[in-house]
């Protein structure tokens, strides 16, 4: 029995050895490429085309956004900066209210709007609602002249990023309410730029997926803008608390500082 087992064992060993021995042989015979390699080669040559197509598509998307956010210099020249701004807002399916008026101008679902807004020449905008629009950094140029802008809603705008927030300093003397909730591209680095908006009374920064440490950031923002009411819902703060501790630990691993000191910060 044991002898039998032994021979089986040896047999296995031998076949294993054969397998091992076979490997270098098979790998050294690659001089004529097998079918799948040739197919891959073929595909890599094709790949440029595929890549070009994909790139072309993404460029098309970018171009569309750029076109929508073009500078309305023509309108501005003939109708003034305020009408141009109003027209820009309506073209991006947004809404606004003129200073001293109670009615809002809005674009309806089919992209139609009331052309009566042209009747209010040289009246600046006071409230602008651009939520879920394609407004971008370059499009903001159309609004820069609006020095009476008090409320700006940018809820859920896919093109609003940190550079956009940094540009908002142009409204630093007037802006009181800002809604940047659900903007996917905003991060902590951009929120730091809100320091220039010292007149801000209300900031909605709910559900920003780009924030890595919301709990801590909210506290720091409250500290930076003491007069401002900050609305930040949609964050799982219990989780982020853990995040803070994690950071703490990481930090301590690196620089072995004592814990009591650390806890004083947060």
């Amino acid at each position: 029995m044991s002898a039998h087992l032994m021979s089986l064992h040896r047999c296995c060993q031998r076949s294993a050895r054969l397998l091992v021995a076979g490997r270098p042989w098979s790998s050294s015979s690659v001089s004529s490429p097998p079918l799948h390699t040739r197919l891959l080669l073929f595909l890599t040559q094709r790949f440029y085309d595929v890549e070009m197509l994909l790139r072309w598509r993404s460029q098309q998307g970018q171009r569309r956004v750029q076109k929508k956010n073009a500078y309305y210099s023509y309108t501005q020249h003939f109708h003034g900066a305020d009408i141009a701004a109003a027209f820009y807002v309506l073209s991006l399916k947004g809404g606004f209210r003129y200073v001293g008026q109670s009615d809002w101008f809005h674009t309806d679902k089919r992209g139609q709007f009331n052309w009566n807004f042209l009747n209010h020449k040289d009246t600046p905008l006071e409230e602008v609602d651009m939520s879920c629009s394609l407004i971008s950094y370059s499009g903001l140029e159309n609004l820069v002249g609006q020095q009476s802008l008090r409320t700006l809603s940018l809820q859920g705008c896919p093109e609003v990023d940190d550079w956009f927030l940094a540009r908002l300093h142009v409204f630093q003397d007037s802006l009181e309410e800002l809604d940047i909730s659900h903007c996917p591209r905003i991060t902590t680095g951009g929120l730091a730029a809100l320091r220039n908006l010292k007149g801000l009374r209300r900031l909605d920064m709910s559900s920003l997926p780009g924030l890595s440490n919301p709990g801590l950031v909210i506290i720091l923002l409250e500290e930076m803008l003491p007069q401002c009411q900050i609305i930040a819902s949609g964050y799982d703060l219990s989780l982020s608390q853990e995040g803070i501790e994690e950071r703490n630990e990481q930090h301590e691993q690196g620089h072995e500082s004592d814990k009591s000191e650390k806890q004083a910060i947060y």
Partner: protein, 510 residues
């Protein structure tokens, strides 16, 4: 053929390689043999094993001969697969952020895909000493020379659209971790007038900067002690700091996806031809044209000559070494040939400290008139700080060790005076890096050397090379491919100012 030539050069090294190769060859042969015979003997028992075996050997020999035909990559000695190519159109020496930016822009501007063969040579792929990754990562518009302001504006614009420029399909979008916190410069009585002049230059150039009186300053940043401050200038937009690694890697990834070849190796020598030219005054000048670059492979005696048409010197702090090989500055003093490249490594320390009661999210990149700067690092109450030493007290640039005395004596007193909260702090770590310091006027040297008609320089940025790299890369690519600057006129940064002894100095308040 070329491999044979190399064989000749390194006859002694080849010997060892050859024998070791032989051994492994035999090795595989023995193994390879075994299963072949077996399968044959079971498959076709009628035929003689011996002939079949012979046939197989013939087939192998034929294969080998075919492999050795010209046009195939076979060679009798093992070739290091990391060797740079033997020929390239443009060789960029130095794989820091400047080098990779130039490589990217060259590819970006080429008309036909694959028209240019660009090679980037980097001696240290870990970037242990490269300034790029050891920098403070800041970008500002607050310069006094319009060129520098425009370089910053263009670079900020590039970073804003970085994913349009450097995004690679099917890969993660680039996140520079840009912190939009402006620079805050503080001026004392002596320098306030310079600050005002700089402010108007910056405004004219289109930078968004504001001037603050001490009262306004105190209002905005209550944690600053305004003693001695007469004026402050504060950047509203396009200023802040970002992660240098990410920028470097983004350039590299994109450039390589566009076909730039990256090679690891140090450039130790050049092969060049010398032509004698006459100046109008009847003096003779030696013009050296580079024929090939000698690349020494890391940790070995192996080297590879790379024939090339154009060399770009982007070797940062060590760029003057390359210039010296080409005998730049070796002539008699006060002559054309006696002007050396005035770039040398200067060691700068950066200290990381922790202060739980320090300023918060709105902390700017603050530069005090004493020369000390600091900025926030992350959100956990950490900051980094540094300063440039006095000219006579430059630390030894032979190593990257940190002098902690410097923090105690030069930095902390000034820091704690300006921000009283920093009286209590704890230095948690520190590092040192080399400025690519231009001793002539602390600004970049961009352009062709008059005596080396095919070496372009992009070096000497002295502490602002990182932020200018996107725009500088574009400018150098324009210079190479278009023959002159197209988008930004940087001709005042070329070699002529050295020849004419006209420094382009920044009027700094520090």
């Amino acid at each position: 053929m070329l491999t044979w030539r190399r064989l000749h050069v390194k006859a002694s090294a080849v010997h060892g390689l050859l024998t070791s190769r032989l051994v492994t060859e035999q090795h595989t042969w023995v193994h390879g043999h075994l299963p072949l015979c077996q399968s044959l003997s079971t498959g076709t028992p009628v035929r003689n094993d011996f002939f079949k075996d012979l046939e197989a050997q013939f087939a192998a020999a034929r294969q080998k001969a075919a492999d050795a035909m010209p046009g195939s990559s076979w060679s009798p000695i093992e070739i290091n697969p990391n060797l740079p190519p033997e020929r390239a159109d443009i060789v960029i020496v130095g794989g820091g952020v400047v080098g990779w930016s130039i490589a990217y822009w060259l590819k970006q501007k080429e008309r036909v895909r694959g028209a240019l063969k660009v090679v980037v040579l980097e001696k240290d792929p870990t970037y242990a000493q490269a300034s790029t990754v050891l920098s403070a990562g800041g970008i500002r518009q607050q310069f006094s020379l319009p060129e520098n302001i425009h370089l910053s504006l263009a670079s900020a614009d590039f970073m804003r659209n970085i994913n349009d420029y450097l995004g690679v399909l099917d890969e993660e979008p680039i996140d520079l971790q840009f912190n939009h916190s402006g620079y805050l410069f503080l001026a004392s009585e002596d320098v306030a007038h310079i600050m005002e002049e700089n402010y108007s230059t910056q405004r004219d150039a289109g930078a968004k900067v504001s001037l603050l009186s001490p009262t306004q300053l105190k209002e905005k940043f209550p944690w600053i002690n305004t003693d001695g401050v007469v004026l402050a200038s504060y950047g509203l937009e396009n200023e802040g700091w970002f992660d240098p690694w990410t920028l470097l890697n983004a350039f590299r990834r994109k450039a390589m996806s566009m076909g730039v070849v990256q090679c690891c190796g140090e450039v130790t020598d050049f092969k060049y031809s010398v032509n004698r030219a006459m100046t109008t005054e009847g003096k003779s000048l030696d013009i050296r044209r580079i024929k090939s670059v000698k690349v020494q492979m890391p940790n070995s005696l192996e080297y590879q000559p790379v024939e090339c048409a154009i060399v770009v010197n982007a070797a940062g702090a060590f760029s003057s070494k390359l210039a010296q090989i080409l005998r730049v500055g070796s002539g008699a003093k006060n002559t054309f040939e006696g002007i050396s490249l005035p770039v040398e490594p200067r060691k700068r320390f950066v200290y990381v400290f922790h202060c739980p009661d320090g300023p918060g999210l709105d902390t700017p990149f603050l530069v005090d008139y004493s020369g000390v700067y600091f900025r926030r690092e992350g959100l956990g109450g950490n900051y980094i700080t540094g300063a440039s030493p006095e000219e006579e007290k430059e630390p030894d640039p032979g190593n990257l060790e940190v002098d902690h005395e410097f923090f105690m004596e030069k930095i902390w007193p000034n820091l704690a005076h300006r921000i009283p909260a920093f009286e209590k702090l704890k230095v948690t770590s520190a590092w040192a890096g080399f400025y690519d310091y231009n001793t002539f006027d602390q600004n970049g040297i961009i352009g062709l050397h008059p005596l080396i008609p095919n070496m372009y320089f992009a070096t000497g940025f002295s502490g602002h090379g990182l932020q200018h790299s996107p725009a500088v890369g574009r400018a150098v690519a324009e210079l190479i491919l278009d023959g002159n600057f197209q988008t930004l006129d940087l001709s005042r940064f070329d070699f002529r100012r050295l020849l004419n002894q006209e420094p382009m100095l920044e009027r700094n308040i520090v």
